[in-house]
């Protein structure tokens, strides 16, 4: 399967910010709206994988990651299974972030289904 690759450090910003656009620069909301949601929509339409490379940045806050990935379900209404099946995360610098991202997606899915 072909893939869409996004390296946050180069395609978005080296210093990811807070959750919402009104809270500061380079927010998770901005990343989701400008890059991530479009990537997933294209990937679904063209049957591609989405590879997100989290390495090379100054670090990620919980809010940024939750809003970016959880927001795909909560705000962009992208199907949970489509996200899980297509998403691949690279995080060699902070390996535990991978699990956290999948947890945020799971939580957003559970909240949406309740």
């Amino acid at each position: 399967m072909e893939s869409i690759e996004i390296k946050i450090a180069t395609d978005f910003n080296y210093t990811p910010g807070p959750r919402y656009i009104e809270e500061g620069k380079n927010s998770g909301e901005q990343f989701r709206r400008e890059i991530l949601a479009n990537a997933f929509k294209t990937a679904i339409a063209k049957n591609k994988k989405v590879i997100i490379d989290l390495d090379g940045t100054d670090g990620y806050g919980t809010s940024f990651l939750e809003e970016s990935f959880g927001g795909l379900i909560r705000n962009d209404k992208i199907d949970y299974n489509e996200i899980i099946n297509r998403l691949e995360i690279i995080s060699n610098e902070e390996e535990y972030i991978k699990e956290d991202v999948y947890e945020y997606i799971e939580d957003a899915h559970n909240e949406a289904s309740n």
Partner: protein, 232 residues
Amino acid sequence: MKLQINILKVVLYICLILIGILVGKFIDFPYFEISKSIDLVNVTSIVVTVLLAVLITVFFDKRRSDNRIEKDLILRRVENVYEITNELQKKSISGEILYTEAVSSIKRISTSMKSIYKTIDKCQFSIKDDIKTSIQNTIGKLRDILTNNPPKVTKGQIKKLDLPIKVKNENAQLESKANYNGIWSNDSNVIIKKTEKNKRSFDFKDLPAKTYLVATLLFILIVIGLIYYFKK
């Protein structure tokens, strides 16, 4: 300087050998004879002993010294992590910490820990997996405390949520602040304003006992004053 010391050492050794020869030549030791034959077993034993002494000094001492250096290196790195966390603690208590600063500090802690684990592995020390997991969980909790603000609650979600709110005198009131702390929302401002409005509305029940007493005294004084005025 080093050369001079070496020359002095050589001179000292030569002197000691010469003294030994002179003592052997001119002083007669009773009941003491020097055998002129060489026993191969004894020679082998001496050679093995010398070799062992050299091996212990060179190999084991070096290993011990290396271990000390490695331990110092690990301790220095742990100290670095301690410094970062200490700084984070100070700033978070004073409320001066920036979001990006908190995030980068946590990443620094995380990468430092990773490098400590690598050094430990290379030095052939061991660290238990449950300790690693515990440290990792603590870093995760720290990250959540410093960098997580929950998402806004949408109107649809508010309807679904069982909020700790009761309606009293057509005004919404929070049942308790503690219950409300978990929810953060722009919509919640409306609820808080309503509560403030409710506080401003006059209710005799809210007045303290002293106010009742003062009001009653004032009322009695006014009545006495009025009676006195009308009698005149």
